[in-house]
């Protein structure tokens, strides 16, 4: 993303800027607003019957049946220690399609789809010791809001998510 920013600063044509406009699905976790690449989002669902898995960390809620496919569900509120963890009819889950894998993530709420120009994206600040910052690709600045842009594919395949076997990780 930083490379893209540089390209724009070396004054490209208008069409090039348009081509770089990316769409993000935004969701909230507690007070924070996050954005993920819309192309990684398969669908949005309500939180329904879930089968708990043995030997799984608390943020992996279990698996669901998504039209015959077994899909693991991660509660991002627990993982990032943000927001109030309640499950009711308003709890939503974003189904992500990450290459060959499908993963569901529970968030506080899905807001909308935003278009961001490269010049609206600021580089992610370096927090010393911050756990999550390596998955943050940038901060999206809108009038009153700030979007935390996440490389969701990288995040979901991280070892500490415990979503895949070690061998599978080596392959990716």
């Amino acid at each position: 993303m930083t490379a893209a920013t540089e390209l724009v600063h070396t004054s490209q044509g208008r069409s090039a800027i348009e081509a770089m406009v990316q769409e993000y699905l935004t969701f909230t976790l507690g007070e924070e607003e996050y954005g993920v690449d819309i192309l990684k989002v398969q669908e949005i669902r309500g939180y329904d019957t879930i089968t708990r898995m043995p030997d799984a960390p608390d943020f992996i809620k279990g698996v669901i049946n998504l039209r015959g496919t077994i899909v693991p569900v991660v509660d991002m509120r627990i993982k990032f220690k943000l927001g109030k963890v309640v499950y009711d009819e308003f709890t939503v889950m974003i189904i992500l399609n990450l290459g060959r894998r499908v993963v569901g993530m529970v968030v506080d709420g899905v807001s909308d789809v935003m278009q961001l120009n490269p010049d609206q994206i600021r580089p992610a600040p370096e927090f010393g010791g911050g756990v999550n910052t390596k998955y943050i690709t940038g901060l999206g600045a809108l009038e009153q809001r700030m979007l935390i842009l996440v490389d969701i594919e990288k995040l979901m395949s991280a070892t500490d998510m415990q979503l895949m076997d070690v061998q599978a990780q080596a392959l990716q």
Partner: protein, 677 residues
């Protein structure tokens, strides 16, 4: 032995045409300037499979032609023959000829004889030229070719009792060329002293086909010693005498109704009329049962959609429960109808993909019978677990490797009767085919009691093939060598096996299914090959049990019993492990709650157990409730998630929830020794 092989014909043709396509594509890719060994191997394998299949199903014309083709390819593969553009052209034309032969066999019509003969000559000529050494092995001399054959075939009364069927022989003859037959009835026969199971009928046959005498004799090879057989050649007779009646289908007298009688007589009359018979053939082909090949993704999509439908239907039914039956009578009736239809739809959709192992296993009795006769060996074949259901795509892909393995066992594994007796073994060799679910896998085993693998021979062969080997290699590493391409320790290349294609194809095909193949062998005792296939969409018979609010499936095959134990039967061992007394046996006990680390939601009154067994060890699992038995479709947890300890997979229950399937083998392995120690 009246085995109806015709149900496999469609599969054979489909596979063969696919093989031809592969062959053609590879041939077209083949660049004489830069030869890729793998491409030649691909072509060779395709030819080899077609030859093998056509031999099994008795399409001798296809088999013998492909055999020539294969010999030429083998020479190219081993580098004995240089690959030229001319050779490639010849191979392409030959593959067209094979296609023509296959089409002819499929539509049960006469092949274009001129075309075939032309190509056959071209192939033979090519083989005879620079292929010096290897050509000798093949190029069959054809001195006894005549214009046709007059055959007198008088079976002995005991013919049927040895499991032979004259109709099959006649049909096989008819496949060689135009055949006419006249029944010959024993004049001394009276109705009173004739038994229905005796064969009293003989035939005077006229075969108008320019084939070798050996080919004709081959047809009668099973019954040679049970009939009077006179074979005379017909010189310069253009066609079967027109005055003779066509083959009369013998029925009633022997109490046999042959399903394809009509078709075979159609075919014969078709041959008479030559090309004019095309419409008749068309009818026969259309009536020959329809099957279509559909991409499995389409079926998977269908299965998933039906799953959704079932859940939606269940939801509707639940919502409708609160409605007043008098006011909404029609709606409720409609919902009832929907319920029935959905269920039927689900059942039939599920059954599309599943086939019993029998589909593959039932090919083998005939194969073993034929090959055993050909090789002069006595072999008994046992099959176990033929009703194990397997995904269709897996079944299709496992058929070829299994055939190769069984052929290998027959040809190289089992010794001749004399050798066996000398080694103190029963004269009759035994081959066992076994299929079953084990530890979340489908395991297919091929066990023979033959001579086993010869370590020294394998090592010697590996050295001559230029493989990196040493004498200090472990037995299992040495055994693995036979899976290398072009590896065969057989001294004689036979029609059955020995060209060394088998094993590398076997390994390749099994790996393509994400499976493994293991081989254990004891010299003089036999060979035991184990093929392990992962569950893709296999169906499992399971017992559903509840622990708290969660439902688990235990594979029924590993459940011994369920029991309600008295409190005093449960004992602790060393303060930690617990055992339960089951009659006079102390069985390690494990609470499923602890194992799966789920919070206990109900009172742990652990006196309901299910006893599971795997690999000879038992384990009692404490559960809350037994819910019942059901068939479940096994889904992989790994495709989107990771391996979960003690679980072999998951399934989707009728209400749409996911339930985990316990891995009995892993449970027993991890827990039982810990308590025993």
């Amino acid at each position: 032995m009246t085995l109806d092989l015709s149900r496999f014909h469609q599969t054979f043709f489909d596979e063969s045409f696919e093989g031809l396509d592969t062959m053609e594509a590879a041939l077209l890719q083949l660049d004489p300037a830069a030869v890729d060994a793998e491409t030649i191997n691909t072509i060779f394998r395709a030819a080899h499979s077609i030859k093998g299949g056509s031999g099994t199903f008795g399409f001798t014309a296809v088999a013998s032609f492909t055999h020539l083709l294969e010999t030429l390819l083998d020479q190219m593969r081993s580098g004995k023959r240089v690959i030229t553009a001319g050779n490639v052209d010849l191979l392409l034309k030959s593959s067209d000829a094979v296609r023509e032969l296959l089409h002819a066999a499929k539509e049960a019509r006469q092949a274009n004889v001129e075309l075939i003969a032309h190509h056959q000559q071209a192939l033979e000529a090519a083989l005879a030229t620079d292929g010096s050494a290897a050509a000798v092995a093949e190029a069959e001399p054809t001195p006894e070719v005549a214009d046709g054959w007059r055959i007198r075939f008088l079976p002995q009364p005991s013919l049927f009792r040895s499991g032979n069927e004259p109709m099959r022989i006649l049909r096989e003859l008819a496949s060689l060329g135009p055949l006419s037959a006249e029944p010959v009835l024993d004049a001394s026969l009276t109705l009173v002293d004739s038994l229905p199971e005796d064969a009293h009928l003989g035939w005077q046959l006229t075969l108008a086909a320019p084939v070798n005498e050996a080919v004709v004799r081959e047809v009668f090879s099973w019954v040679e010693d049970e009939c009077t057989l006179v074979i005379e050649s017909i010189k310069a007779v253009a066609e079967a005498p027109p005055g003779k009646p066509q083959l009369t289908v013998i029925e009633g007298g022997k109490g046999r109704a042959l399903p394809d009688d009509r078709r075979s007589s159609d075919r014969r009359s078709g041959e008479r009329r030559g090309d004019a018979a095309a419409p008749a053939n068309g009818v026969a082909a259309a009536g020959g049962g329809g099957s279509i090949r559909v991409p499995t993704e389409k079926i998977d999509l269908l299965i998933n959609l039906v799953g959704e439908l079932v859940i939606t239907q269940a939801m509707l039914a639940q919502q409708a429960g609160v409605l007043d039956p008098t006011l909404c009578e029609k709606l409720l009736a409609g919902l009832g109808q929907l319920d029935r239809n959905t269920r039927q739809l689900q059942e039939s959709v599920m059954s599309i993909r599943m086939l019993p192992m029998d589909f593959v296993f039932s090919r083998f009795p005939r194969l073993v019978h034929d090959l055993a006769a050909k090789l002069g060996k006595q072999i008994r074949l046992d099959t176990i677990g033929a009703d194990t259901e397997l995904d269709k795509s897996v079944i299709e892909k496992i058929a070829d490797p299994l055939t190769h393995l069984v052929r290998n066992s027959l040809d190289h594994g089992i010794e001749s009767a004399e050798e066996r007796i000398a080694a103190g073994k029963p004269a009759e060799g035994s081959i066992t085919l076994k299929a079953g679910h084990r530890g979340g896998n489908i395991v297919i085993e091929i066990i023979d009691d033959g001579r086993g693998l010869n370590r020294e021979r394998i090592l010697a062969k590996a050295r001559s093939n230029g493989l990196d080997v040493s004498d200090s290699m472990s037995d299992s590493d040495v055994n693995q060598l036979i899976f290398a391409p072009g590896f065969s320790t057989a001294e004689v290349v036979t029609d059955v096996s020995g060209r060394g294609v088998g094993m590398d194809v076997v390994k390749k095909n099994i790996h393509a299914l994400n499976g493994q193949v293991d081989l254990a062998s004891k010299p003089g005792k036999g060979t035991h090959i184990t093929i392990r296939l992962p569950l893709t969409l296999a169906i499992l018979d399971g017992m559903s049990i509840a622990v708290g609010n969660e439902v688990f499936i235990v594979p029924l095959a590993s459940v011994v019993e369920s029991l309600q134990a008295r409190r005093e039967d449960v004992h602790t061992v060393g303060g930690a492990g617990r055992v339960v007394r089951v009659r006079n046996e102390m069985v390690p006990l494990m609470a499923l709650h602890d194992l799966v680390q789920l919070p206990v939601t109900s009172a742990p009154e652990h006196n309901l157990f299910i006893l599971i067994e795997s690999e000879g060890r038992k384990l009692a699992l404490a559960v809350d409730e037994l819910l019942g038995q059901q068939q479940v479709v096994v889904k992989s947890l790994e495709s989107n998630y990771r391996r979960v300890p003690y679980m072999s997979g998951a399934t989707i229950l009728g209400d749409g929830r996911v339930a985990l399937i316990l891995d009995a083998a892993e449970l027993v392995r991890r827990t039982a020794p810990a308590l025993a120690a």
